[in-house]
């Protein structure tokens, strides 16, 4: 081919204002590209997991390829169909295609995340991948384009090679190479021209196939199986308009006469190709019926309408007119609109039509993406300009415009380009707006009378089961074993077959048969254990049988259903059958649903986690703990264990206060008060260094984590050191072995030792609870079948707030009562008396019968006379070996195995607050349970009452808070102790003191005896000790010994033989003293507090509350 004569390098001024703008865009784009390569795609783009492809693919790649179609379409017309007249436009089209594809690859390098791996497709083939085909095609085509450009290079340089300086010696060899290249190129060029067209057809269409893989994600207006054909046809149609657009633009740019002699004939093919594209596209839309989306008003349909009507139909119609084809301005306008239409189509298919199934964020190109795209386009245009200045690409004999023509031409092209730019801007602006708008849218009666004869019976059920299966732990071991209260559940459900729902029919039968309680009892068969059927999960032969872990959780959580997990979203509240009766409130009645309510998280081994070396102080240990457990530290700061005051919802008259507590304003008749006595009293505080009133309660580093979490049993607090531990402890080892609190940490470190010694204060807690047997405490018993509970198994803890109620102290951080586990109908398994016993629960607390005596093993103080302190009395030892006098503290009375005092109690307490006036006419009660016979919510509770005499202001008639520690105990001067102490409490002291009698009630809830040792019927009801016993109402039954039945319970004779100090209680009846409680006598005989009772009513003066 030799058309040397028709093209030549441009010789004009290179730098124009337009070029400066391009350079500016290139610099900004370059900086954005640098950002993308240094900080990643996420740093510059809005691409995300919903929209993996954006404008980089839609514009840089897809549009780039489409607009480079001019290359192969002109190649086809000029060479294949051999229309020589078009040779004038072939070189610019070729250059555009070559640069276009080069920049497609550059654009891809920006878009693909692992750009260094871009050659991977050459080695790793996936013949199924459309993208693979596109990649290989584009790669080959790019090389074809470069080859096709060779003649232009040889033409420019052949015979003109004149290398500078020392390279000039190579001039000849370069010439030779050029000559050879020219010759070879000339011989085989036709091959490359055809190959170029074939390759273009292949990848232009395949580019359309790309989105076919995502039918559910591409809007139906664009998704069609013929998308590849549409892409091919639109590429055909885009080729000539692109040539026209470019040619006229270049002409205008260089002030030349538009090559209308070439462009006008070329333009006549344009409506043919556009019409074909439009016909196929509209036909496809009609066939698929996707036109229903056309007018739905979404940004997608609007974009489609713009694409089709404005950018295809309009230019198609325009170009049918010869006048349009002949006018440079109108031809340019029509061509530009169609070119923009192709741009819009590609953006539509790849970006606008893309609808991710889960749209959490929307996509609009970021500034960075736009800068990079604009930068690439500017660079392309700049390179084009450079090339036309160097190589013979553009026409060699341009017709200079006449001045007049030029200005009018200029005006018309200006108008059309302005119109085009405005149109494009409008499209760009409307798409995001509509995109944003669219985002807005998106039993049976027992067959036998006594259940002792029934198998199975709930009474035979195990009390508690430790669910700690190796099968469960094999696959997940996050949690400690579950303490499953089996009898509690059995009691409530009353039907074993609710949980033990199926039974294997024979050995190895995994599916089994459904069973009912009746069947079980008829067959005298015990239900099988869960693990009889449920083992490891996913047994291929028994996929319908969940594994053991799954079975437990599925069954349990059918009742313990989600309700609590999201505080503001209370679903169907499952009222728990576990808690009923007057004391139950809504919050308590929900079956626990969170993981931690059933099993505690396993404490990880802290050996590796505690990073402490050398000699460390207790505060260093805490700081180390806080490095991971800051939240726990913050939680501690809010607890009453830390603050020694807190909410007092059950203290009458102070229900809404938050400040009641030892720290502030409560007083007792042991060591009286905290004020002034800090370092001694605060040796039980869970902190370090509370020595005076200035302790910083916001300093987390002062928290003593180890006192509760020590597992070694070695950690001890030094008695008078304000909470600091004893010296020379191996704190690191202790810290490395932390775990959940135990009875030893809660009890032995503090609560068993209340009052400064074993069992001094609490009547129901002593060091004996560390390892008791079942007969001492059923819950805490570690031997004899006790349940071995830890404190927190009952005292449920959340955020270090520990539930439980006390009479002696005002603070409560969560309710707790026996009924939480045992319900208000706790008696099961003995049908004859269950009914009677369960009627008691409305009037008598569980503790009354089940804690018949307190301080069973360790004597407790019941009387303390401070007025003897400092007197010269000779101490002597009582029968328990306890001293009855101390020079510092006065005289005491100790007692063991004591019958409690009983009182009506509705859960609230009257409490003496420091500053209150004393009872001048009798005993001042520091704590007193509130309740009365006539109050339905009151029940009879057992109490330890600690009595004594303590110092009081003789003038102001209020109790004094004497300074004992480093005060009275040193100088024995009550006056000075009172003065210093009252000063510390911030109260006025008159200077005159007296000793007044006080009493303090202490609730009894621990040391619960097994049911066999609870009070018997006869011990309270004298009426039942006489014949015919139950026979007064019940018919004689040969199988029941009524006398034995009423005496079933604690036998003090046996206890006395065992060495307990209970001789006085043997044979006692009217144990709880009815008259003292307000009854006329034994309610069986005189009537209950609200109802007439049974037979033999002698006294019916009482007016029943019920009608």
């Amino acid at each position: 081919m030799s058309h040397h004569e028709i093209a030549a390098p441009v010789q004009e001024k290179f730098l124009t204002p337009g070029v400066m703008v391009m350079l500016g865009l290139m610099v900004i784009g370059g900086m954005s590209v640098a950002t993308r390569f240094i900080f990643g795609i996420g740093a510059v783009s809005n691409l995300n997991n919903q929209y993996p492809w954006g404008i980089w693919i839609g514009i840089d790649v897809a549009t780039g390829v489409a607009l480079a179609a001019g290359g192969f379409t002109t190649g086809a017309i000029a060479y294949v169909f051999n229309r020589d007249q078009y040779h004038a436009v072939i070189r610019p089209a070729l250059l555009t295609a070559m640069l276009g594809y080069t920049f497609v690859v550059l654009g891809l390098l920006v878009d693909i995340g692992r750009y260094w791996n871009i050659t991977s497709p050459i080695f790793n083939h996936n013949g199924n991948s459309v993208l693979f085909e596109v990649a290989i095609c584009v790669m080959i085509y790019l090389h074809v384009l470069y080859f096709e450009f060779i003649p232009i290079v040889t033409e420019r340089f052949m015979g003109k090679v004149n290398l500078p300086g020392f390279l000039s010696g190579m001039n000849n060899s370069v010439e030779t190479i050029l000559a050879v290249a020219d010759k070879v190129a000339a011989k085989v060029m036709f091959l490359f021209i055809i190959a170029g067209i074939v390759l273009s057809c292949l990848h232009q269409s395949s580019l359309g196939s790309l989105m076919l893989i995502a039918p559910s994600k591409v809007h139906p207006l664009w998704y069609t199986p013929i998308l590849p054909l549409l892409f091919l046809l639109s590429a055909f149609a885009a080729g000539y308009p692109m040539v026209v657009f470019e040619s006229i633009l270049v002409s205008k740019s260089f002030g030349r006469e538009p090559e209308m002699d070439v462009l006008t004939p070329l333009a006549k093919y344009m409506p043919v190709l556009m019409g074909l594209y439009m016909a196929v596209k509209v036909g496809d839309m009609i066939v698929r019926g996707s036109y229903v989306y056309l007018l739905d008003g979404t940004y997608q349909s609007n974009s489609f309408l713009v694409e089709m009507i404005v950018c295809v139909f309009m230019p198609f119609v325009l170009l049918l007119f010869r006048r349009v084809r002949r006018s440079p301005g109108l031809l340019f306008f029509a061509s530009t609109i169609f070119v923009l239409g192709i741009v819009l189509n590609r953006i539509n298919v790849f970006v606008v039509a893309y609808t991710p199934p889960y749209k959490l964020v929307s996509y609009f190109p970021s500034v960075g993406e736009i800068f990079i795209t604009a930068g690439l386009v500017a660079t392309l245009m700049f390179t084009y300009r450079v090339c036309v200045f160097i190589f013979p690409v553009l026409g060699a004999h341009p017709h200079e415009m006449t001045r007049k023509r030029r200005s009018s031409q200029k005006a018309s092209t200006k108008t059309t380009s302005t119109v085009s730019v405005i149109f494009f801007a409008v499209v760009l602006i409307t798409i995001p707006h509509s995109a944003n708008a669219a985002d807005g849218s998106q039993k049976i009666k027992n067959l036998l009378p006594l259940e002792e004869n029934i198998t199975p019976s709930i009474a035979d059920a195990p009390k508690m089961m430790m669910i700690n299966s190796k099968v469960v732990n094999k696959y997940s071991d996050f949690y400690e074993p579950v303490r499953f209260m089996h009898s509690k559940h059995a009691n409530v459900l009353k039907d074993c077959s609710i949980c033990h729902h199926r039974m294997p029919r024979e050995e190895g039968d995994k599916y089994g048969e459904p069973v009912s309680m009746l069947q079980l009892q008829e067959r005298e068969q015990e239900p099988v254990s869960c693990s009889a059927c449920h083992e490891l999960p996913f047994d291929p032969k028994n996929l319908h049988t969940p594994g053991l872990k799954g079975a437990y959780h599925q069954l349990c959580m059918d009742c313990h259903r989600e309700a609590e997990q999201v505080p503001h979203m209370r679903g169907a509240i499952q009222y728990s059958a576990m808690v009923r009766g007057p004391i139950a409130r809504t919050l308590d009645t929900r079956a626990p649903t969170d993981c931690l309510a059933c099993h505690a998280k396993k404490v990880p081994n802290h050996n590796e986690l505690v990073k402490l070396t050398g000699s460390v102080s207790p505060v260093d240990v805490t700081k180390n703990c806080l490095s991971c457990h800051k939240e726990e530290g913050e939680a501690i700061l809010k607890t009453s264990h830390w603050n020694w005051h807190g909410p007092s919802p059950y203290t009458v008259g102070h229900e809404k206060r938050m400040d009641l507590g030892k720290k502030t304003n409560t007083i007792n008749n042991f060591c009286i008060s905290l004020s002034g006595n800090w370092a001694r009293c605060t040796s039980c505080h869970i902190g370090y260094g509370w020595e005076d009133d200035n302790f910083d309660f916001t300093d987390m580093t002062k928290i003593d984590c180890l006192v509760c979490h020590d597992q070694t049993g070695k950690y001890k607090k030094a008695p008078p050191s304000a909470g600091l531990p004893v010296k020379n402890l191996d704190l690191i080892t202790i810290a490395q072995n932390v775990g959940r609190p135990s009875r030893d940490t809660c009890g032995m470190n503090c609560h068993f030792m209340g009052g400064g010694g074993d069992a001094v204060k609490h009547g129901d807690m002593s060091s004996f609870l560390s390892k008791p047997d079942k007969s001492h405490d059923v819950h805490m018993g570690v031997s004899g079948g006790g349940l071995d509970f830890r404190c927190q198994d009952c005292h449920k803890t959340r955020n270090h707030m520990i539930s439980g109620r006390s009479v002696s102290v005002p603070v409560a951080e969560g309710d707790l009562s026996c009924e939480y586990c045992h319900t208000d109908k706790p008696h099961i398994g003995s049908e004859l008396i269950d009914h009677h016993l369960n009627k008691h629960t409305a009037h008598i607390s569980c503790q009354t019968c089940h804690i018949p005596i307190y301080s069973k093993k360790n004597p407790t103080k019941v009387y303390w006379d401070w007025s003897d302190a400092g007197k010269a009395i000779k101490p002597s030892k009582d029968k328990y070996g306890k001293s009855n006098f101390s020079d510092k503290k006065g005289s005491f009375i100790w007692k063991e195995a004591i019958k409690p005092e009983y009182a009506w109690y509705n859960g609230t307490v009257k409490r003496y607050i420091i500053g209150d006036r004393i009872n001048e006419n009798g005993v001042t009660e520091l704590t007193k349970p509130v309740g009365s016979l006539k109050d339905p919510s009151s029940r009879i509770y057992p109490f330890k009452v600690h009595r004594g005499k303590q110092i009081s202001d003789a003038v102001h008639k209020r109790l004094i808070t004497p300074k004992l520690w480093k005060g009275f105990w040193d100088h024995k001067d009550w006056n000075k102790a009172a003065e210093d102490g009252m000063k510390a409490s911030g109260m006025e002291y008159s200077g005159k003191y007296e000793f007044v009698e006080t009493a303090m009630y202490w609730g009894l809830t621990h040391e619960v005896v097994p049911k066999e040792q609870a009070l018997s019927c006869a011990e309270c009801h004298a009426s039942l000790t006489k014949a015919p016993h139950c026979g007064a109402c019940h018919q004689e039954r040969p199988d029941v010994d009524f006398e034995a039945l009423v005496h079933k319970g604690v036998d003090f004779k046996v206890l006395a033989e065992q060495g307990r100090d209970v001789k006085a209680l043997i044979g006692k009846t009217n144990y709880i003293d009815y008259k003292a409680l307000g009854y006329d006598g034994d309610p069986i005989e005189t009537g209950g507090r609200f109802d007439k009772l049974g037979l033999g009513i002698k006294n019916d003066k009482k007016i029943p509350l019920k009608k």
Binding site: M1, F39, G40, G42, A43, S45, N48, N49, A76, V80, F81, L108, D111, I112, G113, R114, N117, S120, P121, N124, H125, N126, G127, N128, S129, V130, L131, F132, I136, C137, K187, V188, F190, A195, I197, V198, S209, L212, I213, A214, S216, K268, L276, R322, P357, Y358, L360, Y475, S476, F538, P540, L543, H544, H553, Q554, R561, E562, V566, G571, C595
Partner: protein
């Protein structure tokens, strides 16, 4: 330029062969026959309580970055989430439509999402370099060494599963559930199925799972909607779902039963079968070229009326 007719065909043929060789990597389409012996999971969404243990264990097993909020924080379920580069599985909570009304008594539905491990995965078909592969045991796994980071898999995935490390400048990867491929190959369990306290997921052979799903539906009349999601969607998936609510209301896209790769691979392979189409086009163009006298070079055709035949179209124009 003077080229004889003979040499034209010679060179043309050689060129065609070269073109064929260049694209000679496209192999015949293998239609994957979904093996019912492959493994999968049946997710019974009625059992899920949204404890997020699966998310936690998955995160630990795959050493994914720790989340901002702990896995014990259940309020995150109030917002719809999707898997991302730091999480291979998420649990979402879907409230019934009549929430907030007096008739509302139902529990929300919790749905665990992860890669569905399609029988005929779009991502595998789409992947330009075969970095994603469908394994015999059913898992769809990813090989970062081959990956070029084009994210076409993300475009292709009908479930929007693969996620990309956009914030990494160096060696970003596509991240998605691996079905714990290595563990399962060694006879282990996927982390999520292993830890799930309620056994929401049943892990087993797909044929057994389908039977189990049917068994569950038959034995719990009225409990489930009559649809095993994943049995047929996009040609079937390794993960199957049962639910008591219509799947469209609990975050599942409504999808055709056709596997998208069947269409694209059909187009691709019919176009490239024996390289017929390119070769025919090549020969045709060569023929036209010869007929229009390109070889005779320079012979000017000055007729104003000319016949342009392109793709067999003839058009008359002035």
């Amino acid at each position: 330029m003077d080229i004889s007719r003979r040499s034209f065909f010679k060179v043309l043929g050689a060129g065609g062969a070269a073109l064929g060789a260049g694209l000679g990597t496209a192999s015949a389409s293998e239609i994957p026959t979904p093996s019912l012996d492959s493994l999968g999971c049946l997710v019974d969404t009625t059992l899920c309580v949204g404890c997020r243990k699966c998310e936690q264990t998955c995160n630990q097993r795959h050493s994914l970055p720790a989340p901002d909020e702990s896995f014990e924080e259940l309020t995150v379920l109030e917002k719809e989430r999707r898997m991302d580069e730091t999480s291979y599985t998420v649990v979402n909570k879907y409230y019934p439509e009549n929430i907030g009304t007096l008739t509302w008594r139902e529990r929300p539905t919790f749905v665990k999402f992860q890669c569905m491990h399609c029988n005929d995965p779009s991502c595998v078909s789409a992947c330009i370099v075969g970095a994603l592969t469908k394994e015999k045991n059913g898992a769809v796994i990813y090989d970062a060494k081959k990956c070029i980071g084009c994210r076409y898999c993300m475009v292709a995935c009908p479930f929007q599963v693969p996620a990309y490390e956009y914030e990494k400048a160096l060696a970003p990867q596509v991240r998605k559930c691996t079905f714990c491929f290595d563990y399962v190959e060694d006879g282990g369990l996927p982390a999520c199925a292993q830890v799930c306290p309620r056994e929401v997921m049943t892990f087993g052979k797909k044929k057994d799972l389908l039977k189990l799903a049917e068994w569950k539906m038959k034995n719990n009349p009225g409990k489930y909607v009559d649809h095993i999601y994943g049995e047929k969607e996009v040609g079937g998936t390794s993960w199957l779902y049962l639910a008591s609510e219509p799947f469209e209301t609990i975050g599942f896209p409504k999808l055709s039963h056709d596997a998208p790769p069947r269409l694209t691979e059909k187009i691709q392979h019919s176009l490239f079968q024996y390289f017929a189409a390119p070769v025919i086009l090549y020969t045709f163009l060569g023929g036209v070229m010869m007929a229009t006298g390109f070889m005779k070079n320079g012979k000017k055709d000055n007729e104003t009326k000319e016949k342009i035949s392109q793709k067999g179209d003839t058009h008359e124009s002035s």
